[in-house]
């Protein structure tokens, strides 16, 4: 307990820890929020391409200004990322090359060019350049408060834009053609949304680096999408998940040596994705699997009941006494290949709908016969009295043809 208190105290007193945690939180918040639109517009990988494309911008901004002020470098990154996005659009619209290739080319080529510039600057011997390479892999520990302020400022501007044009961005993401018929300038709004993705990327570069930035764009939104079917809630949740992952990642990585902040944050946010995919109430895979299993059991149960009933009828029993006739398990198994008949019969017995008879024979109880009649009637839309009595036939798949 004391250790925890001490740790909490440390967050408020230790400059580095506080800065890193704040930075990671802002990054998660902004990228979660802005990334939601990218994911919904099926532009998840645009973030990946933009983050790589930003590198030459950072270095060129430094070469031009000689300054490493966070805002200067961010502006450079913004310009380069933007140019990259523009090129992707030009190539996909004007040639036969598809978006994935265009993104890949921009990603690798811009990044390669950034490396060339970076190594060139480094070998120019300028003492001032050290630290530029934190943009490659991100070094959250190197964050200082002025970086955090710059991140907060740029991110805040992005947030404000989303708040102001919420309705327009929503419409654009859902149905751009309709937005255009209403007179909204779709081209301009597109540019604005793309710029916002670049903004998110730019904010994260120093903290998590080029490679992992794409996860920060995609993961919080993908996790949030599983919990809600409302855009506003999804965006809020994504921001929350992002911030949560940022904080927890920063704190966990401070606990031990050799846990770099960027990857730790990414693992935190990815854990959230995994949890959401599995356990979210409606879209969760576990819930879906359980529902599916329940349905299958119900179907199997009905099928066994009906088959027992039909077998009885085919043996000439009157419908009322169908329950009196017991059947060889073998006949049932043959009638329903691929169905776990034995286990289903046990279930039916425990529910008092079927009973075992001598020599591995099974029969319906009166209650079971009733249920079978009802279930058949539901299918054939006849009243039970009109139920036609005729021999059953089976398809090769073991289905009963009525």
């Amino acid at each position: 307990m004391d250790a925890i208190l001490e740790f909490v105290q440390l967050i408020f007193t230790d400059y580095t820890l506080r800065t890193v945690t704040l930075g990671a939180m802002i990054l998660g918040l902004v990228s979660g929020l802005l990334g939601s639109f990218a994911v919904l517009r099926k532009q998840s990988l645009l973030g990946d391409a933009m983050s790589h494309a930003a590198l030459p911008g950072v270095v060129i901004a430094f070469i031009l200004t000689g300054s490493k002020a966070p805002l200067v470098l961010m502006l450079g990154a913004l310009a380069a990322g933007w140019l990259g996005a523009l090129l992707v659009q030009l190539v996909t619209e004007q040639t036969r090359i598809k978006q994935d290739s265009a993104l890949g080319i921009v990603l690798a080529v811009f990044f390669g060019f950034g490396l060339v510039l970076l190594t060139w600057v480094q070998r120019q011997g300028s003492a001032n350049q050290s630290g530029l390479d934190t943009f490659l892999f991100g070094r959250a520990a190197a964050l200082v408060m002025s970086d955090v302020w710059a991140m907060a400022g740029v991110g805040g501007a992005g947030l404000l834009l989303v708040l102001l044009f919420w309705k327009e961005f929503k419409l654009l993401s859902f149905d751009p053609d309709f937005a255009a018929t209403l007179g909204f300038p779709v081209g301009l709004l597109n540019v604005a949304l793309t710029t916002l993705i670049v903004v998110a990327v730019v904010i994260g570069l120093q903290t998590v680096g080029v490679v992992l930035m794409s996860a920060m764009i995609v993961a919080p939104a993908a996790a949030a999408r599983q919990w809600t079917d409302r855009l506003d809630r999804m965006v809020l949740l994504a921001a929350l998940f992002g911030a949560l992952a940022g904080i927890s990642g920063a704190l966990i990585s401070s606990l031990s040596r050799g846990l770099p902040t960027g990857p730790t944050v990414v693992l935190c946010v990815s854990t959230l994705v995994g949890f959401s995919l599995l356990f979210a109430p409606n879209r969760g895979l576990v819930g879906a699997w359980l529902r599916q299993r329940h349905n299958r059991r119900q179907l199997r149960r009905a099928a066994v009941l009906e088959t027992l009933y039909q077998l009885a009828i085919s043996h000439g029993d009157a419908a009322e006494v169908a329950s009196a006739h017991a059947h060889q398990l073998g006949a049932l198994l043959a009638a329903m290949p691929g169905v776990d008949v034995r286990r289903t019969l046990d279930v039916l017995e425990s529910e008092g709908l079927a009973r075992p008879s001598t020599g591995d024979r099974w029969a319906l109880t009166p209650a079971g016969a009733d249920q079978a009649r009802q279930s058949l009637a539901r299918f054939t839309r006849h009243s039970p009295d009109e139920l036609p009595i005729r021999p059953i036939a089976l398809t090769s798949a073991g289905e009963v043809i009525k």
Binding site: K167, K170, F174, D175, D229
Partner: protein, 264 residues
């Protein structure tokens, strides 16, 4: 900027030629849609039916000719026009519900920065009721059937409260209930003096549902009252002859949409 009606026809199209990558999709089309009519646009695949609708809506720029809405440009009159796009043109897994989609029909009236409020909510609920979807207002749109999704789109157009309704294949792949609901709404619109233009695939139902028809196959083959125009001879002129070739070129004829463009 409110649109204006005057003595001119709701939609007047003159010498309209539209090309996609310099390949003509519509050739020199003239068309007047009289006020208060229910008009079907009929023609084979690749005839340019969707293109015509999209050009009227300003989504596609013509190579020549012009479209007038009550004798003004679409930009001036857009508040008088409502649009029902093809159902497949959007991602129905988008996180939103039916009511929300319908309220989007009011966004144009709201203009920038303003958010939809109780008024828009009420209008949207009324529109959903009109198409028999009031119970599904809060339903996520991916959990609606195809027909229900189509009715949501129809309701969205209804809240636009327009004079002119342009619909791109609203009957495509819908159930009988939806078909009936849509045709009821269409007739109500006509009774209220609105003008409705519908891209339609099912030739059999044309005489029953519509009073006017445009037979289109890149060119306007014939247009006018169904009773006069919807004749076997005219249909042969529309569908016959070059149909195979048009079908073969279908993929090339998609304007505007790029790789995800749909066409009819």
């Amino acid at each position: 900027m409110p649109g204006q009606r005057n003595g001119s026809p709701p939609i007047h199209i003159e010498d309209l030629t539209v090309a996609y990558r310099e390949e003509p999709v519509l050739w020199d089309v003239d068309l007047d849609v009289p006020e208060g009519t229910l008009m079907a646009i009929v023609g084979p695949n690749g005839a340019g039916k969707s293109t015509l609708i999209k050009t009227i809506l300003g989504l596609i720029q013509p190579a020549a000719g012009q479209v007038r809405i009550y004798d003004r440009s679409y930009t001036e009159q857009r508040s008088l026009v409502a649009y029902v796009p093809q159902r497949g043109s959007v991602d129905w897994d988008f996180p939103t519900n039916a009511l929300d989609v319908v309220m989007m029909g009011r966004y144009g009236h709201l203009g920038w920065l303003k958010r939809p409020g109780p008024t828009e909510r009420k209008l949207a609920l009324d529109a959903l009721t009109k198409v028999g979807m009031q119970e599904y207002a809060g339903r996520q749109i991916s959990q609606l059937s195809g027909g229900q999704q189509q009715r949501v789109f129809l309701a969205r157009a209804l809240v636009q409260d327009a004079q002119i309704y342009l619909m791109d294949e609203p009957f495509q792949g819908v159930d009988a209930t939806t078909e009936k609901a849509i045709i009821t709404v269409l007739r109500e619109l006509r009774a209220a003096g609105r003008t409705v233009v519908v891209v339609h695939h099912d030739l059999e139902t044309v005489p029953e549902y519509f009073d006017h028809v445009l037979l289109l196959n890149v060119r306007a083959i014939a247009t006018g009252p169904v009773a006069e125009i919807f004749t076997p001879a005219n249909l042969r002129r529309t569908y016959g002859g070059h149909m195979d070739m048009l079908l073969a070129r279908d993929g090339e004829l998609t304007p505007g949409g790029g790789s995800n463009g749909r066409h009819s």
